[in-house]
Symmetry: C2
Subunit: 199 residues, 2 copies
């Protein structure tokens, strides 16, 4: 980037390296930053530093939190007999937005993927198994992504859990609500037919 102001060029480059940000967006962000006042800049950089310093994994469910136990694990009103196993924090947020699920979570922080050299020890499987010594737990809902890696992870974990006598379930497959059947792929449609229920 030919530009007189090296700090500006570095700023644009900084944003360009972020995921999903192209050259034009990086320029837009850089000029947005330059137009902020001193207090806004301080808030911007402090929020980043602060989040980075304070956020770590919940000692129970491995979700991200700034205290020892996350707000879900600390909430005594939640049903602690059910654990929903997800790949990452964004999935927890997605389930929480439904306001329907009242159990606990376990965040794997990834999925088993031999292609990317990610084995069971690289995600929080052991931690999950150690939680199962609690007699309260009646059901584990496998809610990993419906991808090859997510499926493999769900299968792997369910095989570890079943011998313990705990019920293991999987999210229902089917056509997404509001979607157009015309655009549904064959596998999804097949699963939707297989999983059909009486009305």
């Amino acid at each position: 980037m030919a530009n007189s102001a090296a700090p500006l060029a570095r700023l644009i480059e900084l944003f360009e390296r972020l995921p999903g940000i192209g050259n034009k967006s990086a320029q837009k962000l850089a000029f947005h930053i330059l137009n902020m006042n001193d207090a806004q800049i301080k808030y911007f950089t402090d929020t980043i530093t602060n989040a980075h310093e304070k956020i770590h994994r919940c000692e129970v469910c491995c979700d991200l939190t700034d205290s020892d136990k996350c707000y879900i694990c600390s909430d005594e009103k939640r049903d602690n007999s059910t654990i929903c196993v997800v790949e990452n924090t964004k999935d927890v947020m997605a389930f929480e937005r439904t306001r329907e699920y009242n159990g606990l979570y376990h965040v794997l922080h990834g999925a088993i993927s031999p292609m990317n050299n990610i084995g069971p020890d690289d995600i929080t499987v052991k931690h999950l198994i150690s939680r199962l010594s609690d007699d309260n737990i009646k059901e584990i809902i496998m809610a990993t992504n419906p991808t090859v890696e997510g499926e493999a992870t769900a299968m792997y974990i369910s095989r570890l859990i079943k011998p313990l006598g705990i019920k293991v379930t999987r999210l229902a497959y089917g056509v997404p609500v509001g979607a157009d059947l015309e655009y549904a792929d064959e596998v999804t449609l097949t699963r939707a037919i297989e999983g059909r229920s009486e009305i």
Copy 2:
């Protein structure tokens, strides 16, 4: 955003407020930040603070720079008889990428827009006029955006400059190179016909 980790919620919100960043992108950026190591975070925040502190307007052309005079105004090889008047720094970058223009610039930092309460005194028009006392200057190229505001600004400035006996030109209008005529709007096509040249 229901989330245990207030610093994380604040971080996502911070990115959501940036231009062109939606909720999903903000989440993606926030988790990208959390996955950085301490050195990367320091570089990230330092680059932002540094750019914000050091960048100001060039005392000659009002482009953004971190020294008194920007690298274009300081370059003695540039043709100082021509000034290309643009709305903002991004336009300077766009012209510089062509590697064709060798004159100087003047950055208005906006365009006259009565709708948005932006008058001639809110952009660097006076500063531009003060530069014209230099006898070297032979031509002013108006390169404001081809929008209503850009046009009005170009007209306003050209009326101020013409009495000084300096040539004022405007960028050529026409169909963009590589574009499909089918999608060109009527005004552009009309201008392209009006501006046709012999081959």
